[in-house]
Assembly symmetry: C2
Homo-oligomer: 207 residues x 2
Amino acid sequence: MEPMTLQTENIPTPPDARERLRAAALDQFTQRGYAATTIRELCQAAGVTKPVLYYYFKSKEGLYLDLMDGAYALFESTLAELTIYSGTPFQRIATFCEGVFDVGMSNLPLLRLIYSIYYGTPQGAPHYDLDQYFDRLLDVITALVREGIASNQITDGNLNDMTWAILSCLNTTLEEQLCHQQPRIDRSAMTRMLQLLFRGMAASHES
Amino acid sequence: MEPMTLQTENIPTPPDARERLRAAALDQFTQRGYAATTIRELCQAAGVTKPVLYYYFKSKEGLYLDLMDGAYALFESTLAELTIYSGTPFQRIATFCEGVFDVGMSNLPLLRLIYSIYYGTPQGAPHYDLDQYFDRLLDVITALVREGIASNQITDGNLNDMTWAILSCLNTTLEEQLCHQQPRIDRSAMTRMLQLLFRGMAASHES
DNA sequence: GTCTATATTGAGATAGAC
DNA sequence: GTCTATCTCAATATAGAC
């Protein structure tokens, strides 16, 4: 509880030190990697001194884990919003993938960090389970495909194959946004790839 | 030119120091990442002392670049072998993807290193252009799809979309082999995903 | 070509004043 | 809660003998 002082002057550094450290860490971990990021540069970028970091996050690892926890919380909170849409199973799958894509684009640095950890190397960073991201996506897509099969709109083939083929398109499209100045495929290309796939998944109406 | 001495005893450390350093570097860079790998541990794993590394590779960076050059040379040499197969365009695409998959599996640590650098972070490692891997794969697949369109076996749709959809299946299947103890999809699942896609790409024979 | 020993630097983390 | 100053340790790299 700090005393409420009148703040007539404009605020010099808008977010508090804690938030600035988070932002700087996201930036540095993503661009240089965990091990290559030094606390000195990180604090300098955040405009604070080293003891401030240790005060709020206890250590470099603590700051990292705080970031990862925040990212997963964001993921889970948005997943719920993306499963409420209606339409045919194909439409719902496409809408879901597009929604995940959009959320990823709105949080590109965070997405970049997650991918760099997932496909990257530990770099001395503490372990954080990232399989749960893929697992949750698989859950949702599998459910949607299953619905399509149940309603005879999707051919009764290998559920797993269809789910993974869909996820492949989403996954590769997301990855393409991460590693290039000018991505060679975008959101609409992903949608069209899914349409191609849907054509192969559609139940042939000759029962 | 060292004097040819009779070697009656069995060799204590089969490959020479240079090769052991390469193997140890591949292992350590992959498992811990470039920045987190220390020369001390690396040399210890290779059974040599630090000056030996500096003698052969000049620096940690030099050893890293040597590894990356070797990897790309391997990639190019195998690509040529994978484009000679015959059959329908669909068969050739599937065979090509399976061949790339197989080569990747035969060189899993190297594949892991490349992916970890590509989707990972610089980690202080010198830049190495890895886009060429994807570019070359796109070249080959695009050519095969184009052939299929020319022979009226593949629908005359968006060439780029079809190419990327194929690459998505290959890419995601490869990635799945890297990050899990027990991959959830394998080579045959990839083939089946491609079949699904081919069904959506096939020209409808009603001209 | 390979060793021992060491120089040098910069990292993560903390003590203690304010 | 934030600072200055500092501790401790391990990293990269090299000198110089053999």
